[in-house]
């Protein structure tokens, strides 16, 4: 599937992909990181978070791995961006950059 078909991303999706860009994270870390990235504006419930993760897994944008460090004896899962996910995030970032640039120009009166 062409990367452009994934665009534009929803804000929640962008935030999840963004917080997985630097390193793989488990569910609770994603929850906290999304809250921090959005400055407290986007706070997921567990249902919404895992709904979004399930969709991203189905789309192949993230993958689910066993965490080496287990929590309280339980095998914890972590989520990692796939190369497709990374590509989609890069494309979305470029799209937003273009949009921002365009907006700046318009606001400054540079483009009629």
């Amino acid at each position: 599937m062409d990367i452009d078909e994934y665009l534009p991303l929803q804000e929640a999706t962008t935030l999840i992909l963004l917080c997985l860009a630097s390193e793989p994270r488990h569910g609770y870390a994603i929850l906290k990181e999304v809250e921090a990235l959005s400055q407290g504006r986007v706070v997921f419930s567990t249902g919404t978070l895992y709904g979004a993760l399930a969709r991203l897994l189905d789309q192949g944008l993230v993958e689910r791995l066993e965490d080496d460090a287990q929590a309280m004896g339980r095998a914890r899962k972590v989520y990692r961006l796939t190369s497709l996910g990374l590509g989609v995030l890069a494309a979305e970032t470029q799209r937003l950059e273009r949009l921002t640039q365009m907006a700046r120009l318009r606001l400054a009166g540079g483009v009629a």
Binding site: H26, G27, Y28, L31, V43, S45, T46, G47, T48, L49, Y50, G51, L53, A54, R55, D58, A71, R74, R76, K77
Partner: protein
């Protein structure tokens, strides 16, 4: 600590509403994430804890809908790839496509309960009671029973002022017994009055629920009283027969309609939920089995009739408490 354990337990039970395959993938993680979020907020502001719980409750229906829709799509995709399954496709498609509707029904049920509660509050304030406009300006005692009103015409009452013009004692012979009220009226200007009232019938105390404030007649405004618990049916019926001015309201209809729709919705939910929990490899055979479908329905109704009845009784009791306070 105990409270946290209860909340975690409830959350765990709610996870059972997700499709089986979804649960096997995410349930442990969701439980863990929720538990950690709960622990983090438990030691802080109670408002943050309340917000966390509200968010979970608010997002649950939509999350369930998405999860079941995902499951349905996966099942349909699997089905399309298996040519040998084609002969049973009709039954499977019907079952799978019905599933989102089950959640629509569930949401409808929640809305129905919310509306029912609103209706209860509206009704108990009496400002929205359809019987009130008919009676305002006239003098009468209205005895309230569940779902009906008995109006006693003023001519049946003997009222005398006692201890000043604002204190009135009224009596009426009802059968072999005497109905008696002592009413204190307080004027608020602009023709509105309120008051307190207590009475008895056949040695049973009667609680006056409310004096209507719109009544113009200070000597005897309409009074709403509640049927005493201890009053026997026969005595109450005697009152009703004697002053047979009964206004049936739609209260019973609404409540039984709600009970029936709740029951039906819940029965269907149980059937479809059982189907979603079943092993995907065996579900086709089960859904084809009409007997299993009927059996599940009967089991669902058998379980939910007592539950619906209990909820109804609780709502009646709640209504009475609201009326009292």
């Amino acid at each position: 600590m105990k409270r946290m354990a209860v909340i975690t337990w409830i959350h765990k039970q709610l996870l059972a509403l997700y499709p089986a395959s979804y649960r096997s993938l995410f349930a442990d993680e969701m439980e863990e994430v929720f538990r950690r979020a709960l622990q983090e907020r438990a030691g802080h502001d109670p408002l943050k804890l309340a917000l966390l719980l509200l968010r979970e409750v608010r997002d649950l229906p939509l999350s369930l809908l998405h999860a079941h829709n995902r499951q349905r799509k996966l099942a349909l995709a699997t089905q399309e790839s298996g040519a040998g399954m084609a002969q049973h496709a009709h039954f499977e498609n019907v079952a799978l496509r019905l599933r989102p509707w089950v959640f629509v029904m569930l949401i409808t049920l929640i809305v129905a309960v919310a509306l029912h509660t609103t209706w209860l509050v509206t009704r108990t304030s009496y400002s929205g009671n359809r019987e009130v406009p008919r009676l305002s300006g006239s003098s009468a005692i209205i005895l309230e029973d569940e779902g009906s009103f008995v109006r006693l015409p003023q001519t049946a009452l003997r009222c005398t002022a006692t201890g000043g013009e604002n204190n009135v004692l009224c009596t009426a012979d009802v059968g072999k017994e005497t109905l008696q009220f002592s009413i204190t009226i307080v004027g608020h200007g602009s023709g509105s009055y309120s008051g307190t009232c207590s009475g008895s019938y056949a040695t049973h105390p009667i609680d006056c629920v409310q004096l209507f404030t719109r009544a113009k007649d200070r000597s005897m405004p309409p009074v709403l009283v509640q049927r005493p618990r201890a009053l026997a049916d026969a005595q109450w019926q005697e009152l009703a027969r004697r002053y047979a001015f009964i206004y049936p309201t739609n209260e019973g209809l609404v409540q039984w309609g709600l009970a029936f729709s709740s029951l039906l919705s819940l029965a269907v939910v149980v059937v479809m939920w059982s189907a979603s929990r079943a092993d995907p490899g065996r579900i086709e055979g089960r859904i084809r089995s009409f007997g299993w479908l009927v059996g599940s329905m009967v089991a669902g109704i058998g379980f939910f009739i007592p539950l619906a009845w209990l909820l109804l009784m609780l709502s009646f009791q709640l209504e009475k408490w609201i009326e009292r306070f």
